[in-house]
Amino acid sequence: MTYTDLSSINQTIEGFLQYPALVDKLFYVYILTAFFMIIALASFFEERRLYGKGNMLSSFAISSIGTIIISVFMLSLGLFTLTYEIMILTICLFLIVLWILKK
């Protein structure tokens, strides 16, 4: 069995970025989830600090818009498959729809 190692990297910047995804297909999905949570929680706690009250749903919705844009860039670099992109897009759109209906 041939293990994936650094010699498997395609000698381009895309190849370098794709390397973690060769080891774990969900690697960049985890990175996106972390990005989503950091933006959402930072937005929520900053809102709470400034106004004394935070809205978690609006923080999630705002974070979703950023996540969608980053995920499109990641898809362009081939960091994950179209199936994952559609799942990310659906979850983010669901949160945005919920936020607009709740307003």
Binding site: I65, I68, I69, V72, L75, S76, G78, T81, L82, E85, I86, M87, L89, T90, I91, L93, F94, I96, V97, I100, L101, K103
Partner: protein, 141 residues
């Protein structure tokens, strides 16, 4: 939620989802992607249906405006009676459900959302629109 607010929320949702899809499709076409989001049948159908639904919105609104303008109001008990508001309500409820039915397919098919949950969401939307519509018929807003 008032019927007017409910309809405006759904119109904004339709525009926003359409804008996000348009951004992704335009970006992918410009960058000449190998894997395009429109390769997926679900996204392709959703985008196409949403486009059709949003385009029909303007035509429907214009025709309802003409119906409303052509009607002569009659005097009712403490108010003016306009029957055209009933047809306006029916048309715009149809448009709310058009957008809703297009968008609910995404979580049901892509995430495997259960039919029971989808059914509960449909029920909530129906109840909200019926109550909103009744208030609209009764007191005009």
């Amino acid at each position: 939620m008032a019927f007017k607010d409910f309809f405006i929320s759904f119109a904004i949702i339709g525009i926003l989802v359409f804008a996000i899809f348009s951004f992704i499709i335009t970006f992918q076409n410009d960058q000449d992607f190998k894997t395009k989001i429109t390769d997926d049948a679900l996204i392709n159908n959703t985008f196409g249906s949403l486009q059709k639904n949003l385009r029909s919105m303007g035509d429907n609104a214009t025709s309802q405006k003409e119906v409303f303008e052509s009607e002569t109001p009659t005097r009712g008990f403490g108010s003016l009676v306009l029957y055209s508001i009933v047809s306006t309500g029916k048309v715009f409820t149809g448009m709310i459900f058009g957008t809703f039915n297009i968008l609910i397919k995404l979580p049901v098919n892509a995430l495997g959302m259960s039919e029971e949950l989808a059914s509960v969401l449909v029920t909530i939307t129906i109840i909200l629109s019926i109550i909103g519509l009744w208030v609209l018929y009764k007191i005009g807003g």
